[in-house]
Amino acid sequence: MIDGVEVDGEKLASLARHLKREGARNINYVGGDPTPSAHVILEAIRNLARTETNITQLWNSNFYCSKELMNLLLDVMDFWLPDFKYGTDECAERLSKVKRYFEVVSRNHKLAHDETVVEGNSGMIIRHLVMPGHLDCCTKPILDWIAENTPLALVNVMSQYHPDHLVPKNPEYKDINRRVTAKEMKEAYEYADKLGLLWRPVS
Protein backbone atom coordinates (compact mmCIF):
# COMPACT_ATOMS: atom_id res chain seq x y z
CA MET A 1 0.00 0.00 0.00
CA ILE A 2 2.62 2.51 1.08
CA ASP A 3 4.64 3.76 -1.85
CA GLY A 4 6.50 6.51 -0.03
CA VAL A 5 9.70 6.96 1.90
CA GLU A 6 9.65 6.76 5.67
CA VAL A 7 10.82 9.99 7.28
CA ASP A 8 11.51 11.35 10.74
CA GLY A 9 11.60 15.03 11.63
CA GLU A 10 15.24 15.45 10.73
CA LYS A 11 14.92 13.76 7.37
CA LEU A 12 11.81 15.73 6.58
CA ALA A 13 13.60 18.97 7.41
CA SER A 14 16.57 18.15 5.19
CA LEU A 15 14.15 17.19 2.44
CA ALA A 16 12.49 20.57 2.91
CA ARG A 17 15.79 22.41 2.68
CA HIS A 18 16.72 20.44 -0.40
CA LEU A 19 13.37 21.11 -2.07
CA LYS A 20 13.64 24.77 -1.27
CA ARG A 21 16.94 24.97 -3.09
CA GLU A 22 15.28 23.27 -6.06
CA GLY A 23 12.47 25.81 -6.00
CA ALA A 24 9.75 23.46 -4.80
CA ARG A 25 7.52 24.17 -1.89
CA ASN A 26 5.51 21.14 -1.17
CA ILE A 27 5.74 17.84 0.63
CA ASN A 28 3.14 15.26 -0.20
CA TYR A 29 2.21 12.80 2.46
CA VAL A 30 1.30 9.31 1.50
CA GLY A 31 -2.04 8.29 2.89
CA GLY A 32 -4.03 11.48 3.04
CA ASP A 33 -4.06 14.43 5.35
CA PRO A 34 -1.03 15.83 7.21
CA THR A 35 -3.01 15.70 10.49
CA PRO A 36 -1.95 12.21 11.66
CA SER A 37 1.70 13.08 10.89
CA ALA A 38 1.66 16.31 12.89
CA HIS A 39 4.25 15.05 15.39
CA VAL A 40 6.81 14.50 12.64
CA ILE A 41 5.97 17.79 10.96
CA LEU A 42 6.42 19.71 14.22
CA GLU A 43 9.80 18.04 14.71
CA ALA A 44 10.77 19.00 11.18
CA ILE A 45 9.69 22.56 11.85
CA ARG A 46 11.80 22.71 15.00
CA ASN A 47 14.74 21.44 13.00
CA LEU A 48 14.19 24.07 10.30
CA ALA A 49 13.94 26.78 12.94
CA ARG A 50 17.15 25.65 14.64
CA THR A 51 18.96 25.94 11.32
CA GLU A 52 17.42 29.41 10.80
CA THR A 53 15.75 28.41 7.55
CA ASN A 54 13.23 31.10 6.68
CA ILE A 55 10.52 29.15 4.87
CA THR A 56 6.81 29.89 5.16
CA GLN A 57 4.85 27.08 6.75
CA LEU A 58 1.49 26.29 5.15
CA TRP A 59 -1.09 23.86 6.46
CA ASN A 60 -3.18 22.25 3.74
CA SER A 61 -5.72 20.07 5.44
CA ASN A 62 -9.31 18.92 5.73
CA PHE A 63 -9.34 20.74 9.10
CA TYR A 64 -10.92 17.81 10.88
CA CYS A 65 -8.16 18.07 13.50
CA SER A 66 -8.69 18.27 17.23
CA LYS A 67 -8.64 21.52 19.15
CA GLU A 68 -5.45 20.36 20.85
CA LEU A 69 -3.65 20.03 17.53
CA MET A 70 -5.01 23.40 16.39
CA ASN A 71 -3.38 24.93 19.46
CA LEU A 72 -0.04 23.38 18.55
CA LEU A 73 -0.29 24.69 14.99
CA LEU A 74 -1.58 28.20 15.69
CA ASP A 75 1.74 29.91 16.42
CA VAL A 76 3.78 28.06 13.80
CA MET A 77 1.69 28.10 10.62
CA ASP A 78 2.12 31.16 8.43
CA PHE A 79 -0.63 30.21 6.05
CA TRP A 80 -3.84 28.19 6.22
CA LEU A 81 -5.17 26.28 3.27
CA PRO A 82 -8.12 24.31 4.61
CA ASP A 83 -10.82 22.51 2.69
CA PHE A 84 -14.39 23.32 3.62
CA LYS A 85 -16.42 20.67 1.88
CA TYR A 86 -19.75 19.97 3.48
CA GLY A 87 -22.48 22.28 4.68
CA THR A 88 -24.32 19.61 6.65
CA ASP A 89 -23.30 16.70 8.89
CA GLU A 90 -25.56 14.41 6.85
CA CYS A 91 -23.60 15.01 3.64
CA ALA A 92 -20.30 14.57 5.51
CA GLU A 93 -21.39 11.38 7.19
CA ARG A 94 -22.72 9.83 4.00
CA LEU A 95 -19.88 10.88 1.69
CA SER A 96 -16.88 10.98 4.02
CA LYS A 97 -17.93 8.84 6.99
CA VAL A 98 -17.18 11.43 9.64
CA LYS A 99 -19.31 12.71 12.47
CA ARG A 100 -19.88 16.27 13.70
CA TYR A 101 -18.21 17.58 10.55
CA PHE A 102 -19.64 21.07 10.52
CA GLU A 103 -19.06 21.81 14.18
CA VAL A 104 -15.44 20.63 14.08
CA VAL A 105 -14.40 22.11 10.76
CA SER A 106 -16.10 25.47 11.29
CA ARG A 107 -14.55 25.71 14.78
CA ASN A 108 -11.07 25.23 13.32
CA HIS A 109 -11.65 27.78 10.56
CA LYS A 110 -12.83 30.24 13.17
CA LEU A 111 -9.83 29.59 15.44
CA ALA A 112 -7.32 30.05 12.63
CA HIS A 113 -9.08 33.17 11.39
CA ASP A 114 -9.64 34.91 14.71
CA GLU A 115 -6.34 33.96 16.34
CA THR A 116 -4.04 34.66 13.41
CA VAL A 117 -5.67 36.07 10.29
CA VAL A 118 -7.37 38.98 12.04
CA GLU A 119 -4.04 39.96 13.60
CA GLY A 120 -2.47 39.92 10.16
CA ASN A 121 0.15 37.33 10.95
CA SER A 122 -1.35 34.54 8.82
CA GLY A 123 -3.01 34.35 5.45
CA MET A 124 -5.89 32.06 4.67
CA ILE A 125 -7.39 30.62 1.52
CA ILE A 126 -10.39 28.40 2.09
CA ARG A 127 -10.92 25.83 -0.65
CA HIS A 128 -14.41 24.78 -1.45
CA LEU A 129 -14.99 22.09 -4.04
CA VAL A 130 -18.43 22.52 -5.56
CA MET A 131 -20.17 19.16 -5.76
CA PRO A 132 -22.93 18.32 -8.26
CA GLY A 133 -26.35 18.88 -6.76
CA HIS A 134 -24.89 20.12 -3.46
CA LEU A 135 -25.34 23.86 -3.94
CA ASP A 136 -28.21 24.34 -1.55
CA CYS A 137 -26.97 22.01 1.20
CA CYS A 138 -23.22 22.65 0.94
CA THR A 139 -21.93 25.46 -1.30
CA LYS A 140 -24.31 28.24 -0.30
CA PRO A 141 -24.39 27.58 3.47
CA ILE A 142 -20.57 27.38 3.51
CA LEU A 143 -20.19 30.64 1.58
CA ASP A 144 -22.72 32.24 3.94
CA TRP A 145 -20.76 30.97 6.90
CA ILE A 146 -17.47 32.30 5.54
CA ALA A 147 -18.93 35.74 4.82
CA GLU A 148 -20.22 35.96 8.35
CA ASN A 149 -17.47 34.28 10.37
CA THR A 150 -14.17 34.43 8.50
CA PRO A 151 -14.57 37.50 6.29
CA LEU A 152 -10.82 38.07 5.85
CA ALA A 153 -10.23 34.67 4.26
CA LEU A 154 -9.86 34.38 0.51
CA VAL A 155 -11.97 31.66 -1.05
CA ASN A 156 -11.10 29.28 -3.84
CA VAL A 157 -14.38 28.13 -5.35
CA MET A 158 -13.31 25.00 -7.20
CA SER A 159 -14.99 23.39 -10.17
CA GLN A 160 -12.71 20.41 -10.73
CA TYR A 161 -14.79 17.75 -9.03
CA HIS A 162 -15.00 14.51 -10.93
CA PRO A 163 -16.34 11.21 -9.62
CA ASP A 164 -13.50 8.85 -8.70
CA HIS A 165 -13.54 5.15 -9.52
CA LEU A 166 -15.55 4.13 -6.44
CA VAL A 167 -18.48 6.41 -7.11
CA PRO A 168 -20.26 4.64 -10.01
CA LYS A 169 -20.13 1.33 -8.11
CA ASN A 170 -21.97 2.60 -5.08
CA PRO A 171 -25.64 3.58 -5.33
CA GLU A 172 -25.18 5.61 -2.15
CA TYR A 173 -23.09 8.06 -4.17
CA LYS A 174 -25.55 8.33 -7.05
CA ASP A 175 -25.99 12.08 -6.57
CA ILE A 176 -22.32 12.80 -7.12
CA ASN A 177 -21.79 10.50 -10.10
CA ARG A 178 -21.33 13.36 -12.57
CA ARG A 179 -19.33 16.54 -13.12
CA VAL A 180 -20.56 19.92 -11.94
CA THR A 181 -22.38 21.80 -14.70
CA ALA A 182 -21.42 25.24 -15.98
CA LYS A 183 -24.77 26.48 -14.76
CA GLU A 184 -24.05 25.24 -11.23
CA MET A 185 -20.63 26.92 -11.21
CA LYS A 186 -22.17 30.17 -12.43
CA GLU A 187 -24.65 30.01 -9.59
CA ALA A 188 -21.86 29.39 -7.07
CA TYR A 189 -19.75 32.28 -8.39
CA GLU A 190 -22.71 34.65 -8.42
CA TYR A 191 -23.53 33.70 -4.87
CA ALA A 192 -19.94 34.39 -3.79
CA ASP A 193 -20.12 37.77 -5.53
CA LYS A 194 -23.38 38.62 -3.87
CA LEU A 195 -21.75 37.99 -0.48
CA GLY A 196 -18.77 40.16 -1.40
CA LEU A 197 -16.25 37.32 -0.99
CA LEU A 198 -12.75 37.68 -2.41
CA TRP A 199 -12.57 34.58 -4.59
CA ARG A 200 -11.72 35.63 -8.14
CA PRO A 201 -7.92 36.04 -7.80
CA VAL A 202 -7.49 32.56 -6.27
CA SER A 203 -10.11 30.48 -8.07
Binding site: E6, R25, V30, R46, E68, K85
Partner: protein, 168 residues
Protein backbone atom coordinates in the same frame (compact mmCIF):
# COMPACT_ATOMS: atom_id res chain seq x y z
CA UNK B 1 10.12 29.63 -15.74
CA UNK B 2 7.38 29.96 -13.16
CA UNK B 3 6.36 33.19 -14.77
CA UNK B 4 5.93 31.59 -18.14
CA UNK B 5 3.72 28.85 -16.80
CA UNK B 6 1.66 30.84 -14.34
CA UNK B 7 1.88 34.53 -15.18
CA UNK B 8 -0.82 35.21 -12.59
CA UNK B 9 1.56 34.14 -9.81
CA UNK B 10 3.22 37.54 -10.15
CA UNK B 11 0.34 39.69 -11.24
CA UNK B 12 -1.83 38.55 -8.34
CA UNK B 13 0.35 40.64 -6.01
CA UNK B 14 -0.65 43.81 -7.83
CA UNK B 15 -4.15 43.18 -6.54
CA UNK B 16 -4.20 45.44 -3.51
CA UNK B 17 -6.87 43.47 -1.70
CA UNK B 18 -4.96 40.20 -2.04
CA UNK B 19 -1.70 41.82 -0.99
CA UNK B 20 -3.19 43.45 2.09
CA UNK B 21 -4.75 40.21 3.30
CA UNK B 22 -1.66 38.11 2.64
CA UNK B 23 0.89 40.78 3.53
CA UNK B 24 2.93 38.92 6.12
CA UNK B 25 3.14 35.83 3.96
CA UNK B 26 4.39 37.99 1.08
CA UNK B 27 7.00 39.55 3.37
CA UNK B 28 8.32 36.14 4.44
CA UNK B 29 8.56 35.09 0.79
CA UNK B 30 10.75 38.12 0.22
CA UNK B 31 12.74 37.54 3.40
CA UNK B 32 11.58 40.77 4.96
CA UNK B 33 9.87 38.99 7.87
CA UNK B 34 10.72 35.78 9.72
CA UNK B 35 8.48 32.72 9.49
CA UNK B 36 6.66 32.25 12.78
CA UNK B 37 8.63 29.13 13.71
CA UNK B 38 11.81 31.24 13.93
CA UNK B 39 10.11 33.46 16.48
CA UNK B 40 8.64 30.52 18.40
CA UNK B 41 12.16 29.10 18.61
CA UNK B 42 13.19 32.20 20.60
CA UNK B 43 10.42 31.94 23.21
CA UNK B 44 11.63 30.37 26.42
CA UNK B 45 9.58 27.89 28.45
CA UNK B 46 10.15 26.16 31.76
CA UNK B 47 12.67 23.44 31.01
CA UNK B 48 10.88 20.59 32.76
CA UNK B 49 9.26 18.71 29.91
CA UNK B 50 8.49 15.77 32.20
CA UNK B 51 5.77 17.70 33.99
CA UNK B 52 2.14 16.60 33.81
CA UNK B 53 0.27 17.20 30.59
CA UNK B 54 -1.99 19.76 32.28
CA UNK B 55 1.07 21.68 33.42
CA UNK B 56 2.54 21.58 29.94
CA UNK B 57 -0.66 22.99 28.43
CA UNK B 58 -0.52 25.70 31.03
CA UNK B 59 3.03 26.48 29.93
CA UNK B 60 1.82 26.42 26.35
CA UNK B 61 -0.81 29.07 27.02
CA UNK B 62 1.76 31.32 28.66
CA UNK B 63 4.28 30.74 25.90
CA UNK B 64 1.64 31.62 23.30
CA UNK B 65 1.08 34.95 25.03
CA UNK B 66 4.81 35.68 25.06
CA UNK B 67 5.12 34.59 21.45
CA UNK B 68 2.45 37.01 20.28
CA UNK B 69 4.03 39.96 22.04
CA UNK B 70 7.43 39.11 20.61
CA UNK B 71 6.05 38.60 17.10
CA UNK B 72 4.41 42.02 17.21
CA UNK B 73 7.61 43.68 18.38
CA UNK B 74 9.62 42.00 15.65
CA UNK B 75 7.09 42.90 12.98
CA UNK B 76 7.11 46.52 14.09
CA UNK B 77 10.88 46.57 13.86
CA UNK B 78 11.37 47.17 17.59
CA UNK B 79 13.21 43.89 18.13
CA UNK B 80 15.74 42.19 15.89
CA UNK B 81 15.30 38.44 15.83
CA UNK B 82 18.97 37.87 15.10
CA UNK B 83 19.98 39.52 18.33
CA UNK B 84 17.89 37.20 20.49
CA UNK B 85 19.41 34.10 22.06
CA UNK B 86 17.81 30.74 21.57
CA UNK B 87 16.66 29.43 24.95
CA UNK B 88 17.59 26.07 26.41
CA UNK B 89 14.00 24.91 26.11
CA UNK B 90 11.81 26.66 23.58
CA UNK B 91 8.13 26.96 22.75
CA UNK B 92 8.83 24.59 19.83
CA UNK B 93 10.30 21.96 22.18
CA UNK B 94 7.12 22.21 24.21
CA UNK B 95 4.99 21.73 21.10
CA UNK B 96 7.00 18.69 20.03
CA UNK B 97 6.57 17.15 23.49
CA UNK B 98 2.83 17.83 23.57
CA UNK B 99 2.46 16.33 20.10
CA UNK B 100 4.21 13.17 21.33
CA UNK B 101 1.77 12.94 24.23
CA UNK B 102 -1.23 13.39 21.95
CA UNK B 103 0.15 10.58 19.80
CA UNK B 104 0.34 8.29 22.82
CA UNK B 105 -3.46 8.39 23.17
CA UNK B 106 -4.14 9.69 19.73
CA UNK B 107 -6.42 12.67 19.37
CA UNK B 108 -4.78 14.52 16.52
CA UNK B 109 -8.13 14.48 14.78
CA UNK B 110 -11.69 14.47 16.02
CA UNK B 111 -12.05 10.75 15.54
CA UNK B 112 -10.17 10.61 18.85
CA UNK B 113 -9.22 6.96 18.66
CA UNK B 114 -7.27 7.24 21.93
CA UNK B 115 -4.83 4.48 21.05
CA UNK B 116 -1.08 4.58 21.58
CA UNK B 117 0.43 4.97 18.15
CA UNK B 118 3.93 4.96 19.69
CA UNK B 119 3.33 1.29 20.46
CA UNK B 120 2.56 0.63 16.82
CA UNK B 121 -1.22 0.64 17.24
CA UNK B 122 -3.34 1.94 14.38
CA UNK B 123 -6.46 4.07 14.57
CA UNK B 124 -9.04 4.81 11.89
CA UNK B 125 -6.38 6.50 9.76
CA UNK B 126 -4.38 3.23 9.72
CA UNK B 127 -1.14 5.01 10.59
CA UNK B 128 1.26 4.21 13.39
CA UNK B 129 3.87 6.73 14.55
CA UNK B 130 5.80 6.64 11.28
CA UNK B 131 5.34 9.19 8.52
CA UNK B 132 5.81 8.70 4.83
CA UNK B 133 6.23 11.13 2.01
CA UNK B 134 5.73 10.48 -1.65
CA UNK B 135 8.40 11.63 -4.00
CA UNK B 136 8.28 15.36 -3.64
CA UNK B 137 7.81 17.27 -6.81
CA UNK B 138 7.27 20.69 -8.24
CA UNK B 139 3.63 21.46 -8.21
CA UNK B 140 2.10 24.25 -10.21
CA UNK B 141 -1.61 23.83 -9.89
CA UNK B 142 -2.05 25.99 -6.82
CA UNK B 143 -3.72 29.28 -6.19
CA UNK B 144 -1.72 32.10 -7.76
CA UNK B 145 -0.34 33.64 -4.54
CA UNK B 146 1.12 30.29 -3.51
CA UNK B 147 3.10 29.77 -6.69
CA UNK B 148 6.71 30.80 -6.17
CA UNK B 149 7.66 33.84 -8.16
CA UNK B 150 11.31 33.98 -9.09
CA UNK B 151 14.12 32.35 -7.20
CA UNK B 152 13.27 33.47 -3.70
CA UNK B 153 10.51 30.96 -3.13
CA UNK B 154 10.33 30.32 0.59
CA UNK B 155 6.97 28.76 1.11
CA UNK B 156 6.49 25.30 2.38
CA UNK B 157 3.26 23.47 2.13
CA UNK B 158 2.29 20.55 4.33
CA UNK B 159 -0.38 18.89 2.28
CA UNK B 160 -2.33 15.81 1.54
CA UNK B 161 -3.16 13.93 -1.58
CA UNK B 162 -6.77 14.91 -1.54
CA UNK B 163 -9.10 12.01 -1.98
CA UNK B 164 -12.48 12.99 -3.22
CA UNK B 165 -14.68 11.08 -0.83
CA UNK B 166 -14.67 8.19 1.55
CA UNK B 167 -12.05 10.33 3.26
CA UNK B 168 -12.90 13.79 4.58
Amino acid sequence: MWRAIRPDSNSVWSNGQVLSRLRRYYDILNDRKPAKMLVANRVEVDSDLNASTDKLWDQHRKASGKFRVLLREIDRGNVDLKELDTPKTSYLDLKVELARRILASCHFCERRCGINRLEGKHGVCQLDAKAYVSSAFLHLGEEAPLVPSGTNARAFLWRCNLLQHVHV
